[in-house]
Symmetry: C2
Subunit: 194 residues, 2 copies
C-alpha cells in the first residue's frame, strides 16, 4: 500500500529521532543530573510531546539503558585505545587511568552503566558486544600479571577495586586527597606477580 521509498525515509527519520532522544537524555543527565531527566523535560528538549518517547522506548528505564549502552561502547573504545603500550606495568597504569578518567568525565553516564540500569544482560550469552569488549580490554592489561592465577578472576577483582574507588570517592565516602596514593597502591597490588 505504501511506497517502499517512503517507508525507508520514515524508518530513517525514526532512527534519527531515536538517537536524538538518547543523546538529549545523556546531555541533560550530564549537565543537570538524572533527576532532571523527566519525561516531560525530555519531551520539551526534543520538541515533541511525551507519548512520542513511548513510541521509541518501553519506558524511562529503557531510555536510561540505551544511554548506558552507548556508554559501554565508548568505554570499550577508550580502553582499547589504552592497551597499546609496551611495558606491562605502564600498560596497566594507562588502562586504569583511562577507566577512571572515563568515569570522572562522564559521571552521569557512568552511573547509568553501573548503578542505575538493571535490565542489561551482563555475564550471559546475550551480553551486548561492547560490554564483552570492554572487559576483554581490561583483561588484556591485567592478564600478564596473573601468574598461576585465573586471569578472568583477577580482572574481575581489579575492575571491582576500580569501581569501588570511583563510586566511594564520588559519594564523598573517600577523601579526594588520597586519590593518587590509592591508585598507586592498587596498581602495585595488581602488578605484583606471584
Amino acid at each position: 500500500m505504501w511506497k517502499v521509498s517512503t517507508q525507508q525515509r520514515r524508518e530513517r527519520e525514526r532512527a534519527q529521532r531515536h538517537d536524538l532522544i538518547v543523546k538529549t537524555a545523556r546531555k541533560l543527565a550530564e549537565s543537570e543530573g538524572w533527576d532532571a531527566v523527566t519525561t516531560r523535560r525530555l519531551a520539551d528538549e526534543i520538541e515533541y510531546s511525551q507519548p512520542v518517547l513511548y513510541s521509541h522506548f518501553a519506558g524511562k528505564d529503557a531510555i536510561v539503558a540505551a544511554v548506558a549502552l552507548e556508554g559501554f561502547t565508548e568505554l570499550a573504545v577508550r580502553l582499547r585505545a589504552a592497551t597499546r603500550t609496551g611495558e606491562p606495568r605502564a600498560a596497566l597504569e594507562e588502562l586504569a587511568r583511562a577507566y577512571m578518567a572515563f568515569a570522572e568525565e562522564n559521571p552521569a553516564l557512568y552511573d547509568a552503566m553501573f548503578t542505575m540500569a538493571v535490565d542489561l544482560p551482563f555475564g550471559q550469552d546475550d551480553t551486548p558486544e561492547p560490554l564483552r569488549d570492554g572487559f576483554q580490554a581490561l583483561l588484556s592489561g591485567v592478564a600478564q600479571f596473573a601468574g598461576g592465577r585465573d586471569p578472568g578472576i583477577l580482572t574481575e577483582v581489579a575492575w571491582s577495586a576500580l569501581h569501588g574507588l570511583i563510586v566511594l570517592s564520588r559519594g564523598g565516602r573517600l577523601p579526594a586527597s588520597g586519590r593518587e596514593a590509592r591508585l598507586a597502591l592498587l596498581l602495585d597490588q595488581l602488578s605484583a606477580t606471584r
Copy 2:
C-alpha cells in the same frame, strides 16, 4: 505551664515513635525494596498519618539516613567482633567475610549506607562515631600487612575492593559463581606484605 513528668512521658513516646519509624522503614525496605517505602505506605504501617513522619524527620531522605546510621552502628559492632583472631591472615579473612556477610544479609540497609543517602558527613570532623569505628576495625585487620605503606590508604583500597565486589555482584555485573575465587584472590593480594 506543663508538668515536668508529662513532658518527659511525651518525649519518651516521641522517641519510641521515632524508633518505630526507622525500624519499620528498614523492615519494609528489606522485605520489599526501597521503592516500596513510600511515605504513605510507611505511615500506614506505623498506623499514623503522613504528616507525623515530617514531625520527626525533615523528609524521606532523612529517614533513609537514619536507617543508614543504624546500619553503620551494626556494621561496626560486627567488624569489631571479627577482629579477635590471632593469626593475621585468618584475621583479615574473617574481617572481609564479616563485611560481605553483612552486605548480603542486609542488602537494602547496605544500599542506604553506601549508595543512597548522600547527606551523611563521611571523612570529616563531624563524622558519626560508628562510621569512624567501622573504618578503624577494618584498619586493624589490614594494617599489619602495610609494610612500608600507609595503612590508611591500604584500608581504603581494601574497602573499595570489597565494596566493588559487593555492588557489582548484586547488580548481576559479576557472575555469582566466582564469588569465593574472587574473595580468595583479593585476600591474597592484600595479605602480601612487601
